[in-house]
Subunit: 115 residues, 2 copies
DNA sequence: CCGATATTCAACTCTTGACTTGACTATCAG
DNA sequence: CTGATAGTCAAGTCAAGAGTTGAATATCGG
C-alpha cells in the first residue's frame, strides 16, 4: 500500500468505530480532556484513552498535555482528506452517469425514426 | 443508536477495509461483475463476494443479477451521506477556530496599550 | 507533605471480521 | 445434453480490536 493510502487507511479504520465518531462529534464543541470525553459513555477511562490514541495516530485529532490533563481537538486537515476521498468516488461516478445519459439522449434522437 | 446513525455506522465500517475501498475505486470506471472486481486481488472469489455483500448492505453500492453475473455499481447518494458527516465535523470546527481567532484579534486590539 | 485527580501501562478476555476450502446451484455456449 | 463459467453457501481458522482490571505515575490544591 502506498504512503498516502496507509494514512487514508488509518483514518477510515479510526472512523469505523461509533464511540470514536461520537468523540469527534463532542469535539465539534471545542477541545476537551480525556475524562470529559469519557463522561457520556459507560466505558472505563482506559477504554476512552485508547480510542483517543487511535484518533491521534490517524491524525483526525491532535492532543497535548496540559498539567494532568490531555486536551484533544479535531484536526480539520485530516478530516478533509477523508472527505476528499469520498467526494472523488462520488463525483467520478456522477460524471459517468451524466455522460451515459447524454449518450442515451443522443442515440434516442439519432434513431427517432427507427420506431 | 438512532436509525440514521445505524446506517452511517454500517457505511463507515464498510469503508474501513482497504479491499472494499479499492473495489469502490474500481467502480469509478463503471459497473462490474464480481469476478471482474476480483481480478486485481490475490483473494478467493468468495472473499470478494463477501466484500460486495458488505458494500451492498451499507448501501454504498447496489447490485443486480444479470444471467450468471452480478453487476455492481456505486450508489452516489450513500457516499454523499458519509461525506456530509465528515464535512459537518470539519466545518463546525473551522467555524469555532474562526470565532476564536476573531476574539483573540479583538482582545489584542483592546489591550494594545497594556504591553 | 498528603490525598485526590487525571491519566497511563500491561496483561488478559472475548468477539468480530477477513479469509479459505469444498460442495452446491444456475446459466451459457456449442 | 455437457462442460465450463459465475456465483452462492456453510463451516471452520486465525488475527485484530474493543473492552476490562489493577497497579503505577504525575500533577494539583491545601
Amino acid at each position: 500500500m502506498l504512503e498516502y493510502e496507509r494514512s487514508i487507511d488509518e483514518m477510515f479504520r479510526a472512523l469505523a468505530d461509533p464511540t470514536r465518531r461520537s468523540i469527534l462529534e463532542q469535539l465539534d464543541q471545542g477541545p476537551a480532556s480525556v475524562s470529559k470525553l469519557a463522561e457520556p459513555f459507560h466505558l472505563s477511562l482506559a477504554a476512552i484513552a485508547q480510542h483517543v490514541q487511535v484518533l491521534e495516530r490517524s491524525h483526525l485529532i491532535s492532543t497535548h498535555k496540559s498539567g494532568r490533563q490531555r486536551l484533544c481537538s479535531i484536526d480539520p486537515a485530516a478530516v478533509q482528506s477523508a472527505e476528499r476521498w469520498l467526494r472523488t468516488r462520488r463525483t467520478r461516478w456522477e460524471q459517468r452517469l451524466d455522460r451515459l445519459e447524454q449518450h442515451l439522449d443522443k442515440s434516442t434522437q439519432e434513431h427517432r425514426n427507427d420506431r
